[in-house]
Every structure is written in C-alpha cells, then in structure tokens.
Point group: C2
C-alpha cells in the first residue's frame, strides 16, 4: 500500500516513520526540494496545485492525506475524484474558514468565544460593544501559528486593525478568561470506530505552541471526548483530528480544530502505546485502531527557530529527540523533544529542563 | 550526517527508522533492488564487494556500519582505509570464524561448550571421545540461522556429516545441557562508555530465533554484563554487540557474538527507553548513549516464512507490528511483533497469542 501526502514537512515525516513498520510506502508532494519527508518517500517536487503532479499523486497512491488544512478546494476535489482522500473534503472546508468553523461548533452544541463576521470597518465597529475588549481580529482563512491576527485593546485599535487585514473576510473573537488551553486528539475509522487520546495541556506563546503534556485522568476528559465525537460523526470524518479547547472554570469552549495530526500530540510517539501518526494511518486505511493509553507521564517541548547542541539534548534523561531536518530560521519549528517517564517528579524536572533549553535558543 | 550501511535488509531498515529523528540520513549498499531499507535511504544497488559502489559508499558516508557480520575482510579493509567504520574490523574477523571466536571467549575468561577444530574426518573421529554425543559439526565460517550445521548423534554419523561440510574448515561443539538460552546486548562509544540492556531470554527452533523476552532484574545479569564488557573492551569495540549465552545451572557459557544489532533485541523498539537501533547510531557517532531501561514487560515474536492477516495482528492488545517489506518465502524472517505492557499477566497472554499466530503461518 502506498500513502500519498500533500505536504512533505515534519508531519509527513513522522507519518512516514510510523508507517514503515506497518509495511507502507509513501509519496509526498511538496515544493521544497529539502522537504523533511523527502528521504523517506517518493518526492513529487512542485506546487501543491500542479495538475500533472496531482494526477501522479492520485494515480500512485492508494489513499491520499495531507499534513496541512489549507489545501485549495479544487485540489481536494480533484484528488477525491481520482482516489480515496481522508480526512474528507467537507472537514477541510470547515477548518479553513474560522467563521464556518465557529458556526459549526455552535450548531453541534459546542460553545465558543463570542464572535462576529467582519467584512468592513463598520461591521467591526458594530460588533465590538457585544464582543468586548480585549478581542482578536483574524482573517477567516489561511491563518496559523498566530499569523493574520491582530489584538484589539480598545476602540482606538479598530481602524488600523481592519486596514491590516487588507479587506480579507475576517472574524472578531472575544478573549476568553481561560484557566488553561487543552486539546484532544481522536482518530476515527470509516467503520465509525473512534479512539481518544488523553487531553493535552498546551502552553502557547506568540501564537506558537511551546509545551504540551498529556493529562491522565483529567476531569474534563469525558466532556472533550463528547465534543470531538460530535465533530467526527457530524463530519463523517476519517483520520486523526485535533480539537483545541479553552478550559473556563471546568467548561470547555472550542477554539479550533485541525483535520490532521497535530503538534499537541507529538508526545504520543513515545508517550502512547500507539502514536497519533500510526493511528492516523490505521484510520485512513480502515485498519483496527491502536491503544491510546499513555505510558506514564508524557509531554513535549518544541524548538522554535533554533536548536541546542544535540549532545546536550541526548544527555537528558527521559528525553527523546525528534529533529525535522529543517534549517533553523525565525519562527520555524525545527524539532521537538518528548519527555516520558513513569515518575511524575522526574517528568516535571525533565520537562522544565527542556523548556529552559528551548527558551535559550528560541528565535520566534 | 550520513550513515552508510553495508546491507539494506530489515536491520538497516530499523536502524534508518531510528536515525531519522536524530537528523541522520542513510545510504545502503545491497544487491537486492527491493531491499527493505531502500525507500528510507539512498540505495547503491549492486554486489557488496563492487569496488566502485564501495568507493561511493565510503565517499558519501560520514561513518559506515553493517547489518551482517560476513563482510569480506578486503571489503572491511577498503572501507576502513577510506572512512570511519564501526564496529571495528577485528571484531568482524573474530565473529566470522567460529574457531577464533571460541578461542577468543576462552582467552578472556568466558566459558564455552567443549569444541575442537576439524579439518578432516580423522580430526572429527579423534575429537569425539572428548566432546561426547550429541554434538554439532559447523563450518567455521558463514553460518547463520542454522545453516551449515549437522547434528552428530553417534559415531555412525561422522562420515556423512564430514562429507556434507565439503571440506570446509569446521568446528565440532559438544551440546550443553542448558536451562535456557539468553543474550545480552550492549553498546559502547569510542569514549569507552557502555550501556547494557537487560538479558533477553530466547527460544530457538530449527536454529532460528522465534521468541525473545526481556528479563528484568535477572540473577545472571551482572555475570552477563561482565562478560560482554570484557568482549567490548578487548576488541576496543564501538557500536551495538549481542552476546548469546547458554545458562547452565546459573553458569553462563558463551555461544557466539554478533557485531551488530540483533534479532533478540528487537523488543527494545517499544520495550526500552532507547532502542538498540538508536543506541547503535549514538555509539558509532560518539553521541551520548540512551537509557536502556525497559518500559515494563517486553518481548517479541518472529514471523518466519509467512504472515498472518495484518488486521488480526493490529487487533491484538499490547502488540506492535514491524513488517520488513520482504516477500515471504521458506525460512525467511518477514516481520516481528513486539509485546509491551506493564502487567506481567497481560504480557504472557499477549506473547502466547502472538506465538500461536506465528506458528500458524510458520514456513521454516
């Protein structure tokens, strides 16, 4: 079986590493000749919407998946008309548009921050009394890692904020006074079987995930599972999904979902019986899903824009290094390290040490 | 950094899978165009002693290692004169010759079964009164998985047994009344640092390893570590080594050693904090060695000559599948499955279920 992946970065790389033991082969389409998954797969080198390359991808792959959600609709449609594509195109369509996404959450009974569609400065001025300050103005499409977002602190910010969106259809969201940010990762097969990972507690800074850790036996687990199940079933979803949530006094509000493997699940490589990458493959190939049980305490730290000396990282107890083979540059995720141990105290110490190392080389 | 591997089978495949997260790239030399590591590495396709390919391997790789020990001496010498080669050539020379190997064990104070060098029928007839029946006649070189071996049950077997060796320099070994077969895997860096894995208890049948399991807190661990340390230090060894031992009433007798990653350590992929494959790479690159602590109970079952349905394997709790991308044929190792769980009872049940599955499809 050959799995096609749109995108050949670190997510495709980790999917491929998880897939070889299952006997799979890979083909990726990525414009970067040094794509991190290139050495691990057949590499179609060119634009994501190159018709000839997409035709090759569709022909050679038994199933196609993707490592990012901003796949142009016509690309997803073309692929879906020639081969099996998971997750399904409707999940992409919702995830690509922050307004559709928020509406969809609300429709299936999942709360969100207050929001309003913004297509003009006037829309923004009219919405803000209800939304309240501070708030955040985001383009509806193509945002990730904090890009395309402006914080609104008072009415004085509105005009320049709206100008910075350059007329892009936008959404304004009120800030939520959350205690913590969590995410839940789940995988669903075509048959309808679903497995859930334990909640991940996530620390962001500058809109970029820095640290994530598995929450074994979390009080909000059942609520998060209920929410992500609604999402999966309503979308007739196949593959791994990540739902990001705000925990507000024990109530969970949806922030966004990613129709793919997710950075907040990278601790599952060593931390879970079956990693999110392997379960994504099992799901899209309609194979039995693997156990999501955590092996003790698990977490991960991202390295952004810079890397400590490899020897220093390999010397750390309980840490597992995952380099992405990417040249460090400002704001770029170049590696992560998983921490896993049965001992909670050792875990906290190791995670703190790693965070300190990551902060020392941070360039974001 | 690029690691060259002589041989591109399942061991090279698992080395490469362990190496990508460390940021490594791979180049393998293997005559089989469908070599299991081919998709994961640059593949030099041709004979192991092809001078032009060896020159390419030596030029492109920062360090060269191998997945089998029967590397012709002139090949090892050529590579060593052009690049760094680990494990060192002297370890290969000893491991390739059962007589040198036995003598070496005895020289460094490690006991073995009784043995004698056999170069003629007369040698064999003279040796047998001391060796005793049953015994086993083996060619000194190029034997693995039970090939090139004849069992001697009585004096009546000697002539035909010797004829079957076709004049090859041989060795006769007495049978040892062992309670169990174990192996110890260790890794040594150029700096001299050594890490030891827990003993593996191994079940062979027809000369082929079937089942291996990690022995946490084994009574013979210290003795085995002492023995393998002698081996590593005397050979000024770098990389992973596997020492196979017979446990005879709590005394350990050496059977043979393998200067490479070893089938009896495959449970380390999920069963250890750091797999034997990752520690082999860390060792040959002189990086800090990783923890060899086991994660609960760990073992593995080989699939020889045939494979059960993938779905059946993936449905098993606590099992992790490792397919080698090899076409099944008689006697060929085509996959293994690791079992790992914290619960001893669950572990035994899962290992037994897997063994039954493996026996059902066995073609060895």
């Amino acid at each position: 079986m050959k799995v096609g992946i749109l995108g050949g970065g670190q997510l495709a790389r980790m999917i491929a590493l998880a897939g070889y033991p299952l006997g799979l082969k890979f083909i990726v389409l990525d414009p970067d000749e040094n794509a991190g998954a290139a050495g691990l797969s057949e590499h179609l080198h060119g634009a994501y919407d190159d018709p000839a390359l997409l035709a090759q991808l569709a022909e050679k792959a038994d199933v196609v998946t993707y490592e990012f959600e901003n796949v142009p609709a016509h690309v997803a449609e073309f692929l879906a008309s020639h081969t099996t594509v998971y997750p399904p195109a409707n999940a992409l369509a919702v995830a690509q548009d922050r307004l559709l996404e928020k509406k969809f959450f609300n429709e299936i009974g999942i709360g969100t921050a207050p929001y309003a569609a913004i297509d003009s400065l006037r829309d923004l001025q009219q919405a803000m009394p209800d939304i309240g300050y501070p708030a955040i103005l985001k383009s509806r499409r193509m945002g990730y890692d904090g890009k395309g977002q402006v914080v609104l602190k008072s009415a004085a910010d509105l005009e320049s904020a709206w100008q910075s969106m350059q007329g892009a259809p936008s959404i304004v969201e009120g800030f939520v006074p959350f205690q913590r940010e969590v995410s839940i990762i789940a995988a669903r097969r075509p048959s309808g079987d679903i497995v859930f990972y334990p909640l991940s507690e996530n620390q962001h800074s500058g809109g970029i995930l820095r640290v994530a850790k598995a929450c074994n036996s979390d009080a909000e687990q059942a609520m998060a599972e209920d929410y992500v199940r609604r999402l999966l079933e309503k979308l007739d979803y196949v593959g791994v999904i990540a739902l990001e949530l705000f925990d507000v006094d024990g109530r969970l509000l949806a922030n966004e979902f990613a129709p793919r493997v997710h950075n907040s699940g990278h601790w599952s490589i060593e931390g879970s019986e079956t990693s999110q990458f392997e379960n994504h493959l099992r799901a899209i190939l309609d194979l039995p899903l693997g156990s999501t049980q955590t092996r003790g305490q698990a977490g991960m730290v991202n390295f952004i824009g810079g890397l400590p000396d490899t020897r220093e990282l390999l010397n750390l107890s309980h840490a597992h290094l995952h380099l992405y083979d990417k040249t460090p540059r400002k704001g770029r995720k170049v590696a992560h390290a998983t921490v896993r141990t049965d001992d909670a105290k050792e875990f906290n110490t190791a995670l703190k040490t790693l965070s300190t190392l990551a902060q020392r080389v941070d360039n974001s």
